[in-house]
Symmetry: D2
Subunit: 228 residues, 4 copies
């Protein structure tokens, strides 16, 4: 997975400015001690005053397999997307294969799975089958293109573990909503069961978020990872 923060206009001060317009109008200044600002941000997070977190913007460039991107694009409010098109260009032969430590077995029922390590037979089947199907599908894709079949038709043979790339733009509020749902953490106020592969993408985004808005991130962590 590739997660690049292409650009951002997002800092903790944006939240404070937007929030203080409520109580101070246009007289707002950001010359106060960070302790007071941190307190304000924590108050906004805790009592679910979400709008001050929206005056921020993050643009990510992400490479991930189709089955991850399908989950990602379910996030609508506060998200903008542009993705590589299988109609307009030939897709590259890059496919996702689970890393060696990836849990392969699920136990329990929908909404409450536990995942555990696979045995040798499972690991070997997953690895071998994904390689085989990916290769065979891509070879077929290329042959269809070679004989003049339209890209939008030829791509129908490609499996959902093929990589695609996209730009995603969001604000801090929509980003926190995404992170809360697409990671599984001990300190979360509600239970999430993200597929590990989208969690990998979320972790990459979370690192950038924590770095650019440390006070906001601390308040998110301190309040059960619930987006305001």
């Amino acid at each position: 997975m590739t997660v690049d923060l292409v650009k951002h206009a997002a800092e903790d001060a944006d939240v404070v400015f937007a929030a203080r317009v409520s109580t101070q109008g246009g007289e707002t200044r950001f010359n106060e001690s960070s302790e007071r600002d941190a307190g304000l941000i924590n108050f906004l997070m805790r009592d679910r005053h979400g709008s001050p977190f929206e005056h921020t913007s993050f643009t990510f460039y992400i490479e991930a397999p189709i089955f991850v991107v399908r989950e990602f694009f379910r996030h609508r409010a506060g998200w903008s997307y542009n993705e590589e098109s299988g109609r307009y260009k030939q897709l590259e032969p890059v496919f996702y294969l689970p890393a060696d430590g990836r849990s392969l077995r699920q136990i329990g029922k929908p909404g409450a799975y536990d995942f555990i390590q696979g045995d040798y037979k499972q690991k070997s089947a997953v690895s071998g089958d994904l390689r085989r199907i990916s290769t065979e599908a891509y070879t077929t894709y290329e042959r269809l293109l070679d004989i003049g079949v339209a890209r939008e038709v030829a791509r129908m043979v490609l499996p959902v573990n093929i990589y695609t790339s996209f730009y995603a733009t969001c604000n801090a509020r929509s980003l926190m909503h995404f992170l809360g749902l697409r990671t599984a953490r001990e300190n979360a106020a509600f239970r999430s069961f993200p597929q590990r592969e989208i969690e990998l993408v979320a972790e990459g985004m979370e690192t950038e978020f924590a770095r650019t808005m440390p006070l906001t991130y601390a308040a998110f962590e301190a309040n059960g990872r619930v987006a305001p």
Copy 2:
């Protein structure tokens, strides 16, 4: 493709009621001649007063291949979705194959393709290859499930022509926006180049829309199929 209108709360009167609150407050009645109401709806459409069209609701149940659903779910504003999950259930072995008359060749450049009929060799390759890859991928998928691999992992081998199912809820405004972009029509005020398969879904939805909101639909047609 399956397109079922599961339920709807949408009629032309909804638009008229919502619009007349502007000029008449709570005194609105719908006892006027349809000619006057049609005129109002046409005025709203033409001059892009979009909000009166939003007090309506359509819920569709749709079955379509993944490559179509990926395009569908790009529509965010005014749309709600719930889709069959490859993490929670085993997907059925139902795959999309282009019908015999489906154009298989593209001519021109991105954004302005023309599609023309394929020759015998292309038809035969598309049909044969899609069948072969679909079957082989599904056989592999089943085998991985049989030896205990988690559904969310096993599904990675499945191609994007496998069918999925979902509920989609929208209002008349978001529906018209979708129809304008996902169909190609002579009377449209702007050019669209939808993939034929999503256009098939759009056509099914358009039939239901035209039936339930005939005045609104007529105004949409009369104004270049531009959503207000």
Copy 3:
């Protein structure tokens, strides 16, 4: 305040149908015991699976003063509005006056006010001043209209306690979000400090919501009144 549920396409079954498409595809039926359905709805609410609640639609007709409507229209996601226009019609001389029991004094600091009863002097001033200014402003408004001043200009003299009317359409998810923020309840998981007048509107809407979707409402109540 007037709160009329004009129409709705919303019942608990909608939530269950949309949720079960994840695990059962198009095979979903609603012939199960309500205990099992209630359990599913509670699970969705608790673990913040919000999308199944969106396949529902409520249209309200509301009459409220401008200062309330200004707060109301801050709700954007999943809301549609059409309001009486001061540009297109003459506004009626109907003004909001606090009822006798309305708390008139605030104690504490922003975000954590307590409200307590006013004394006689305060009650009398509020009542007298609102009547006087409302009357005088409306008399002035009428005189400006009489001499031919445009409605959109003449209305500038009107105070924010004048009534306006609007249609609002939402789904169960956006409605719960609104109710969580615009009411103050003991069992809420977070603190809200709504102005009493918008809470009156919210209470009217909550009554209709509880009646039309009793299982969903029970789950909302049982989970801290946090919208999923």
Copy 4:
């Protein structure tokens, strides 16, 4: 009216990058001649490919009277707001008065008004009445505050021409949608009848937009000021 562009992360290159990911994946570069980029932007605008314009962010600080802000906040999709609160702070005694050249009379019917200059009597009444009511309302407001009435109650006497202040964040697509509806221009593809006061705000925003995204702005102008 005050319209300050507080910050922005928006340039024409953002549109080009986002659009090219469709056809070139992650290989996109912005080293091409501006003529080619301008052509791409114009193509996207004309054929209503709106999403590439969303990877941009503008934050404005605006001071305007309440009757303008009420129209402004009707824009929901792609907009974020935080406004000065009459519950949390005492509002300043700043009121809107029409400038001398402001047309005061409307001719025609709703949705198709023409506005013409007022005569001396009208000008004098508007100016005098607005001053008188504003002053009297504010004096009353202060007196209510002085005797300990809560701000959220005292403000009910204030007229809609009092100024408020807010932060608004949008992207280039939502901004163009706003500009198309809130200005009246000869080259527009559809008719708008904005109230002059919100058009003043829109003009201030348009100046900043034209300066920061000149190619996008030119394409907007060249395509009938219809947001893609």
